[in-house]
């Protein structure tokens, strides 16, 4: 078929397009992902037994994870549509990670030298880093599905952004289970868990986001 003919075919009978309601869809996607993640924690891992007395620290961890997701959100939105400059949005993520690093150092400095390692490592480092990406998976799958309806053109970056965003959501769910409450622990290992989600996302992004 000649290109001219193809153009005729495409243009023939074209109608006004509706503006996609992506804000609503995105909000629903993130909410559903979070609910599935929390359900996985409740069913699979079990909410931490001392949840009644530990409301405050759990709340703090959920808010920290939510903040991490919120920092990545503008970047993810930019990568959803073609030809949008990223601008400060990458810087925001870098700044957030740097601030977390600084907070970790300050928090550890305030401890007795002998306690620092224990404060930092908690006793569930490995689980934390591994379980956050696992709990992020439902959100990530939904986000991929949502984003493909748009037209991401930088798939590796978009994959990383989806990974980090869903990592933040996964960490919110994980906070219900995680028994360690020290700020240095959370800011190090939660961020690393989210970073691992982002790394996985960047590796598989091109495969799943292709359109």
């Amino acid at each position: 078929m000649k290109t001219e003919r193809l153009i005729d075919v495409l243009a023939q009978g074209v109608e006004a397009t509706e503006r996609p309601r992506w804000r609503v869809n995105l909000a629903i996607t993130l909410l559903v992902g979070l609910v599935v993640g929390v359900a996985a924690v409740v069913i699979g891992l079990g909410v931490r037994p001392d949840i009644d007395t530990a409301r405050m620290p759990v709340m703090m961890k959920v808010m920290f994870s939510g903040l991490a997701a919120a920092v990545v959100l503008p970047l993810a939105l930019r990568l959803m549509k073609p030809g949008r400059p990223l601008g400060w949005r990458v810087g925001a993520v870098v700044l957030f990670v740097a601030l977390c690093g600084a907070c970790v150092v300050v928090a550890l400095m305030g401890e007795e030298p002998g306690d620092r390692l224990a404060m930092w490592m908690g006793n569930g480092v490995l689980w934390c880093v591994v379980l956050i990406p696992v709990l992020a998976a439902p959100t990530a799958a939904l986000l991929v599905w949502l984003m493909r309806a748009f037209a991401p053109t930088r798939l590796t970056l978009a994959g990383a952004a989806i990974g980090a965003l869903s990592g933040g959501v996964g960490a919110m769910a994980y906070a219900m289970y995680c028994p360690v409450d020290s700020a240095a622990f959370v800011m190090t290992w939660y961020v690393l868990g989210i970073a691992l989600s982002a790394a996985i996302g960047s590796l598989v992004g091109a495969k799943f986001l292709r359109w």
Binding site: M1, T3, V9, L10, G13, T17, G83, A151, T153, W211
Partner: protein, 180 residues
Amino acid sequence: MADEAHLRASLLRGLAGDEAAHRGFLTDAAGLLRSYFRNRLRGQAEDAEDLVQETLVALHTRRHTYDPNYPLTAWMYAIARYRFIDFLRRSKHRAHASLDGVDVGDVDPQFDASDAKRDVAVLLDKLPEKQKTAIRLVKLEDRSIREAAAATGLSESDIKISIHRGLKTLMRLMGQEQVT
């Protein structure tokens, strides 16, 4: 040659449902895309034309992703560049090719549309029955949505959805084809 303002105006009118404007946009875009791909695939005019067609379908089916607050050409060339990288991946083509920037070089008036290597008509034939019928009636035989609905017994929105899905499927088929 079409400039940013003109292209943008045509696309926006097309988005509002103006068929002639949308055709104009696609025609102008095809010219620019042809230069873009020919400058990157020297001596592969047919591959370049395949990419022009592929990108036109992509621009058409994803036209709702254009945000009027941003430059149209940035949007268009981001999609073109994406299709080009996808093409390189498919063809495992490792020759030197400039991937950055959206500089299309000079538009050579001698760049006429050459024949594409693949035939879109053949691909259209591979679509699921419902999508194929909807596209044939409305797009190829110029019937209205209402007539097509009456002829097939489907609802009008069913016809519209089938066309939309069919074009998306078409784009996917274009991307799956093995480049020789």
